[in-house]
């Protein structure tokens, strides 16, 4: 058993805490999303939908809480999708040479970077949940301490798998592509459909059938659903839409994300083994 990935992890985290501007913006960004977008949108949405009659016997969830789950998913999506960019610069400025010339297996480089990305995703998730509770998000409402703990762990687990998947994807692109502009445009191109064809920020019930179908395979939808299952319960209504999450649904979220992460892992290993210096 070798543990060289810890060295990669150490270096990534060292630099994460060293760049104060990057650190600050990555911590403040989720708060801004929640504070500005979340509060503004939830007020207007809740007003618009106040006329829709409640579904009897089903707990009602406000838009802020519904969207909070989506914001976690989105924030983790963006930070993970761009998380591999360091690799491109490392390669460009031949920093990667030292590591590639060492006995460290290439899978450890991927793993080290993946784990550091997951750590950052955890920090962000934690901040969103904490700040969200502060401004009135209904996460874990009526849960006992144990239930809260289990729900929280479930969310973190989903976030970790999701984040790894996108870090591997981002890493594979970073190691393949030569210039920052190219990387930037590919990532932007990728994030658009992921972002819009998902139920992260709004319910998809009114989507055209094709988009609705596609969104079911979107990792962002899988994650947002998973987080809602854990944080809001398996039976609630929002804006007149009735949500019921069954055990099957949550299993699909987990399995879908695990499948996605494994597929991306093999892509990353394939790309990394091709790297020449």
């Amino acid at each position: 058993m070798s543990f060289e990935f810890r060295a990669i992890y150490w270096r990534e985290m060292l630099k994460f805490f060293r760049f104060k501007s990057v650190l600050f913006s990555s911590l403040i960004q989720p708060v801004m999303w929640l504070a500005f977008f979340g509060l503004a949108m939830s007020d207007s949405f809740d007003q618009l939908t106040s006329l829709i009659p409640d579904i009897p016997g089903v707990p009602k969830v406000d838009y802020l809480s519904y969207m909070g789950a989506g914001i976690i998913a989105m924030d983790v999506l963006f930070s993970s999708l761009f998380g591999g960019t360091t690799l491109m610069f490392d390669k460009k400025f031949s920093l990667l040479r030292e590591t590639l010339a060492s006995p460290v297996p290439r899978s450890h480089i991927i793993l080290g970077i993946g784990l550091s990305g997951v750590t950052k995703a955890f920090i962000q998730t934690f901040i969103i949940i904490g700040f969200g509770k502060l401004i009135g998000m209904d996460f874990f409402k009526g849960y006992t301490l144990t239930e809260t703990f289990i729900a929280f762990s479930g969310i973190m687990l989903l976030v970790a798998i999701f984040s790894l998947g996108f870090l591997f994807l981002s890493g594979s692109i970073a190691i393949t592509i030569e210039n920052p502009e190219g990387m930037q445009s590919i990532l932007t191109l990728l994030s658009m459909p992921l972002f819009f064809v998902s139920n992260a920020l709004y319910p998809i019930d009114a989507f055209p059938a094709v988009l609705k179908f596609l969104s079911m395979f979107n990792p962002l939808t899988l994650l947002a659903d998973g987080i809602r299952y854990f944080s809001l319960g398996s039976n609630f209504s929002v804006m007149g839409n009735h949500y019921i999450y069954t055990t099957a649904d949550i299993s699909v979220s987990f399995l879908g994300l695990i499948f996605f992460a494994l597929a991306m892992l093999s892509a990353a290993i394939w790309r990394f083994n091709k790297v020449n210096i």
């Binding site: 060289e4 060295a7 060292l14 920093l95 010339a101 060492s102 020449n276």
Partner: protein, 329 residues
């Protein structure tokens, strides 16, 4: 072990259709400083990349520290330290963090890492800079840090790809001091260079490499002695004809025409040969404007074996620091 830390047999390497290394064989002995001396594009870095397992060996065989480069790359990697041609330090990490990272990726235990970092900061005189970020170091300091990093794991062989390129002569000589010190500690050193003095003064043995081929190998002394004891440099009113006359003489081994002067290699004692040479040229009505006698230098060795200078426009450097006995008319 056979006493050879590096053994290379019939190594070839091509980038697509460009043959960068063409059937070379050599050995590096335990504890010596061995240099590859050659111009840009000669194939020096390619050989290093193959020996350090960064590029897969294509043809031939190579062993480093007893391990097969093709089959035991992990063991090879554990045996070596590398200073790459291009600077590659993390600018956002401090001097000691750069070393720390290197120790970690080679799974050095913590205590050993700390001790080694102290030793190396001392050796490379970077103690005062331990908490300085990589980007705040001068070029020379960066190179020293890379040297320290290459030595972190106490490698059996240290590979250095043009370690002093772009440095002034003082900085370069300090680097040589460090390398001699490292050699005294028992590390074998393989370096590439296109500086004559580096090959000459630092190395125990030198291979001259050009167009992917090793042209000659030996100690600086051996290589120079092969050119005879003395060389005569002549400037005349007509170098072309003078060269032909010289070539017809028995005492002359070879004549090379430089831009301005003729370089004459002789097979016998210069004191006897010179008067005869001068007389023959004058007989043809050619004036001799300058005569120089000097011991062969690495430059002469290089020109002799490759048929060209190492770089264009380096004539100035060429005449620096050579023992010359001028005989002017």
């Amino acid at each position: 072990m056979t006493g050879n830390v590096i053994e290379v047999n019939n190594l070839e390497y091509a980038y697509g259709s460009v043959k960068a290394v063409d059937d070379i064989s050599f050995t590096v002995k335990q504890g010596e400083i061995f240099s590859f001396l050659g111009p840009n594009g000669a194939g020096k870095s390619t050989v290093i990349n193959v020996l350090t397992t960064l590029r897969k060996i294509q043809k031939g065989e190579a062993r480093v520290n007893g391990y097969d480069v093709a089959k035991e790359s992990k063991s090879v990697r554990r045996s070596i330290g590398i200073v790459f041609q291009m600077l590659c330090l993390d600018h956002e990490m401090t001097v000691s963090e750069n070393l720390e990272y290197h120790g970690k990726i080679y799974s050095m235990p913590k205590k050993e890492r700390k001790e080694r970092i102290e030793e190396l900061l001392k050796l490379t005189e970077l103690e005062g800079k331990r908490d300085t970020l990589g980007k705040e170091l001068s070029g020379g300091m960066k190179r020293r840090l890379e040297l320290a990093r290459g030595l972190m794991t106490k490698p059996a062989v240290l590979f250095l790809d043009e370690p002093t390129v772009g440095f002034d002569i003082q900085t370069r000589m300090r680097m040589w001091e460090y390398l001699r010190e490292i050699k005294r500690e028992g590390t074998t050193i393989f370096l590439t260079t296109h500086y004559m003095e580096e090959a000459d003064q630092l190395s125990d043995r030198i291979s001259i490499i050009d167009h992917g081929k090793i042209i000659v190998t030996g100690s600086a002394e051996e290589l120079k002695n092969k050119l005879g004891k003395d060389l005569i440099y002549l400037e005349t009113s007509n170098n072309k004809i003078a060269a032909e006359i010289l070539r017809s003489l028995n005492s002359v081994k070879t004549v090379t025409e430089d831009t301005k002067s003729l370089r004459v290699m002789i097979g016998e004692n210069v004191t006897h040969a010179l008067p005869q040479i001068m007389e023959k040229i004058r007989e043809e009505g050619i004036d001799i404007t300058t005569v120089n006698i000097k011991k062969p230098s690495m430059d002469d060795v290089f020109v002799h074996y490759t048929g060209h200078g190492l770089r264009e426009g380096d004539t100035k450097e060429k005449y620096d620091g050579m023992e010359t006995e001028g005989v002017s008319e």
